[in-house]
């Protein structure tokens, strides 16, 4: 087995990666913590000293905070629901025998590889534009009045755009999980007279539970920080401002770094709560 020599060599080999990530994590993080307890307005007087927890309190008590939290939860929750439910349905469908399965898979996974700024702008203009968008054409065709999607239903529109990008991801992972299911078990259940619904509820769904949990956790972490999709569509207007976007505006647009940093600390705590659950599952998987 590993000798003392190879062990110390192994430690050496690990050092660059560990060191870089440690610096990458600690330096910005401690700066954020430092700014968060100071009154810091780069364009209006710079660093004006220690203010304790004032930024933390002001960030939470500002009128923009709770709407932003609500928007974040609705957007993340909506996308999760859509991608898990339709992801399971699509995965079940793709698992069925059919012609050209590989091509269908390619078609379905494609949106995941589209750059966020591209997908947001294509949806915003070519589909949701109230004058020239395809949806407007479609609405007029059926005698309806075109909807101004991004100002009348901004949250729904963003959910649609981002779901389009993430549904493929959920589908692909759930499909991988379904395909690892032992088909003999399903056949046995079928022969014992279990209905398709019972087979789904008692065999497939329990088998998928871990994959579903992982989809939910990973997507939550990515979705909590969606940025480009809001940046190029509504710019945070019409009540579509998420926590991430609110912090971005505080830091870079209104250059209130102290306040924004306090918000950043909240975002980090929120992401860490989700991350803890994900790490537990991933960690368990490492043991076997």
């Amino acid at each position: 087995m590993a000798t003392q020599h190879s062990r110390s060599a192994a430690r050496m080999m690990m050092t660059p990666a560990v060191f870089l990530l440690l610096v990458w994590m600690l330096v910005p993080l401690s700066m954020t913590l430092w700014f968060s307890v100071r009154r810091f307005l780069p364009l209006r007087g710079g660093d004006q000293g220690f203010v304790g927890l004032e930024n933390y309190i002001r960030f939470i008590s500002s009128s923009a905070f709770w709407p932003a939290i609500q928007t974040t939860l609705v957007i993340v929750g909506g996308i999760l629901l859509i991608s898990v439910i339709f992801g399971i349905l699509l995965a079940l469908l793709l698992d069925q025998p059919m012609w050209g399965q590989g091509i269908v898979r390619i078609l379905i996974i494609a949106p995941f590889f589209v750059m966020p700024t591209v997908s947001a702008l294509v949806w915003k203009n070519m589909f949701m534009d109230p004058v020239n968008g395809l949806f407007a054409h479609l609405w007029r065709f059926f005698g309806g009045e075109p909807v101004v999607w991004l100002s009348d239903a901004p949250i729904g529109s963003i959910i649609l755009i981002v779901s389009w990008q993430w549904l493929p991801f959920a589908t692909l992972i759930l499909l991988t999980a379904i395909q690892s299911l032992d088909s003999e078990q399903l056949e046995a259940a079928e022969m014992d007279g279990a209905s398709p619904l019972a087979r789904f509820g008692y065999i497939i769904l329990p088998h998928l539970s871990r994959a579903i949990t992982i989809v939910v956790l990973i997507q939550t972490i990515f979705l909590l920080s969606i940025f480009a999709e809001i940046f190029v569509t509504t710019g945070g207007a019409f009540g579509s401002r998420t926590l991430t976007y609110l912090i971005y505006q505080r830091v870079l647009e209104s250059q209130n770094v102290g306040l924004g940093s306090a918000g950043g600390v909240y975002a980090i705590i929120l992401a860490n709560i989700v991350a803890l659950f994900l790490m537990r599952i991933v960690g368990k998987n490492l043991d076997n």
């Binding site: 560990v18 949806w123 991933v282």
Partner: protein, 276 residues
């Protein structure tokens, strides 16, 4: 064992699946088609699907107006550079964790993962400020380093899960035959590790190509990659659907093709080995 299924059933599955696949793919298809239309045809009502005069002029206009090649080169440079650099740093780390595990290996792996979950916006100002102080705002090399650090945890993890599948017995046999560490790495390990490394490169190139938080916030003119170039279309002027489509098609086409090759690795890479 595939079970016998009636042809009707199979035909029905095929029809539904192709229908849904077409629907999901439609926005991409529509973008590609629109990129070959004139601006007038791009907004025509009723929309024209295939029966229009195909033209390449939008591609020419996009290139001429905005020097598209520079953005493309920035994307290639940033995504490629960060990926290659990341793999160079990660291979030794993943190798040692996979083959000489210690009590702390698991903790280190999970800790690395936790750095990936740090929300970018939480450290936006520090990174912005450091970039200014170091004079590297709107600098390609700075973005190479930042994107390398962002994707490093995923790269380490992917490589680790690949390396762990290489049977240790082979390494032990090589050692018994008198191979030294260097020979072990070059002649035994490397040939078996190449497919895993290639997949890791591929997936991380895609992730870096599409990264749109740091590339939007830390670039202006010189270092702006395609993500930022496309974002500049968010304030429309006149008729621009066909030009937007041409720019978009050029930005996503190379990645779509690479992406189709990396479907399998995507699952492994983004679930950290928890779903295979």
């Amino acid at each position: 064992m595939a079970r016998a299924v009636s042809t009707n059933r199979k035909a029905l599955n095929t029809a539904i699946a192709w229908g849904i696949g077409f629907l999901i793919f439609f926005p991409i298809l529509w973008t590609i088609l629109t990129s070959f239309k004139t601006e007038a045809e791009a907004i025509a009502n009723p929309p024209v699907f295939l029966n229009f005069d195909w033209t390449l002029e939008n591609y020419a206009i996009v290139q001429e107006r905005s020097n598209y090649m520079r953005f493309l080169w920035n994307s290639v440079f940033i995504a490629g550079g960060s990926t290659v650099l990341g793999v160079i740093v990660a291979v030794p780390a993943a190798w040692s964790m996979a083959f000489v595990p210690s009590r702390r290996t698991k903790d280190i792996l999970l800790w690395m993962l936790s750095t990936k979950m740090l929300p970018a916006v939480g450290v936006l100002y520090p990174i912005y400020l450091l970039s200014i102080e170091l004079g590297v705002l709107d600098n390609r090399y700075a973005l190479v380093v930042i994107l390398m650090l962002i994707n490093l945890p995923i790269i380490v993890w992917m490589l680790y899960t690949y390396f762990r599948e290489i049977p240790v017995e082979i390494l032990e046999a090589a050692r018994m035959d008198g191979a030294r560490l260097r020979e072990e790495i070059f002649y035994v390990l490397t040939p078996m590790a190449v497919p895993g490394i290639a997949s890791t490169l591929l997936l991380n190139f895609i992730l870096a190509w599409n990264e749109a938080f740091w590339t939007l916030n830390l670039t202006a003119v010189d270092a702006a990659p395609l993500t930022a170039f496309i974002a500049s279309y968010s304030s429309p002027e006149g008729l621009f659907f066909a030009k937007l489509s041409a720019a978009s098609t050029m930005a996503i086409a190379p990645i779509l093709i690479l992406g189709w090759f990396s479907q399998k690795q995507l699952v492994r890479g983004l679930t950290f080995g928890a779903v295979k």
